[in-house]
Symmetry: C2
Subunit: 167 residues, 2 copies
């Protein structure tokens, strides 16, 4: 349990981190705004999935997801396949072009972060990742309500060798 002043300060930092996000957004390729980048990133990380699953990972309404997905699909970065098990659903899949775009995205963001955080240690970056991941979990675990999607909400807190899979 923390003090009130600490919570106020955390709220301020959360509000202020938007500036960092905007900086990151400025280096994205044309035609690939942040929403599209998030779709590609999550598909690359978690593999094929349905709209509803993607919406959950994005933590936004499915109507929003639908728009982002339409945008990346229009550019040939993903395909929407019918789900044989449920004709209402569509399975999203990254195309080779989408994978190429995703690699370009990763390159640009990693380069920017490497430059800006050049004086951070590996451990410090790791700490920040862990705390932010936990922050999201502390908020998300009350709205999601699922539990049936155990796989999605699951722990995940240990790192794999390459990419921590925490959404």
């Amino acid at each position: 349990m923390a003090e009130q002043a600490q919570y106020e300060e955390l709220a301020r930092q959360l509000s202020a981190v938007g500036a960092v996000k905007r900086d990151m957004g400025r280096i994205l390729p044309p035609d690939c705004p942040a929403g599209s980048a998030a779709v590609l990133t999550l598909l690359g990380r978690h593999g094929d999935m349905r709209m509803s699953k993607l919406a959950e990972l994005l933590s936004v309404d499915m109507s929003v997801t639908s728009r982002h997905v339409a945008h990346v699909a229009a550019r040939g970065w993903i395909e929407r396949h019918p789900d044989p098990a449920d004709k209402r659903s569509r399975i999203l899949r990254l195309t080779p072009a989408g994978l190429t775009e995703l690699e370009e995205l990763s390159l640009r963001t990693s380069r920017l972060l490497a430059e800006r955080l050049s004086d951070w240690t590996d451990d410090e970056v790791g700490q920040l990742i862990r705390l932010m991941t936990r922050l999201r979990a502390s908020f998300g675990d009350c709205r999601s309500v699922p539990a049936r999607h155990a796989a999605a909400a699951a722990p995940v807190f240990e790192e794999t060798t390459r990419t921590p899979a925490s959404t």
Copy 2:
């Protein structure tokens, strides 16, 4: 120096923290969207200041600042006084009503964070605050460019008795 996979994960978490911000935004009082809340918070924390200074603290363009300020001024939460030293400038000052509104804001956000982070220790919250503050510094220190505005970047950083002041 961290690895590429770590940077990619950090980018993902930065993108995802938007969900937390939106959750916080949902509990704000009517008529006080996040932009207005940020204005009130910074004025309460740093005291009277000019538009340009506020824009710098918000890390947004002054045109955006102008709109947020107009919104809170229209509700009587701040006053815009002429600057005797420069007739182009306007000094922003929190009104008593603005202070009341600010206290309501602080109460709501603190309450929400206290609830969501009930299982966090004081030290963990402090760590997250420190890392996020540093993250912002690592990004901000390259865009500001001022230095001529030494005065602006300068003092002010002392605390009132109540609130941590790291912007």
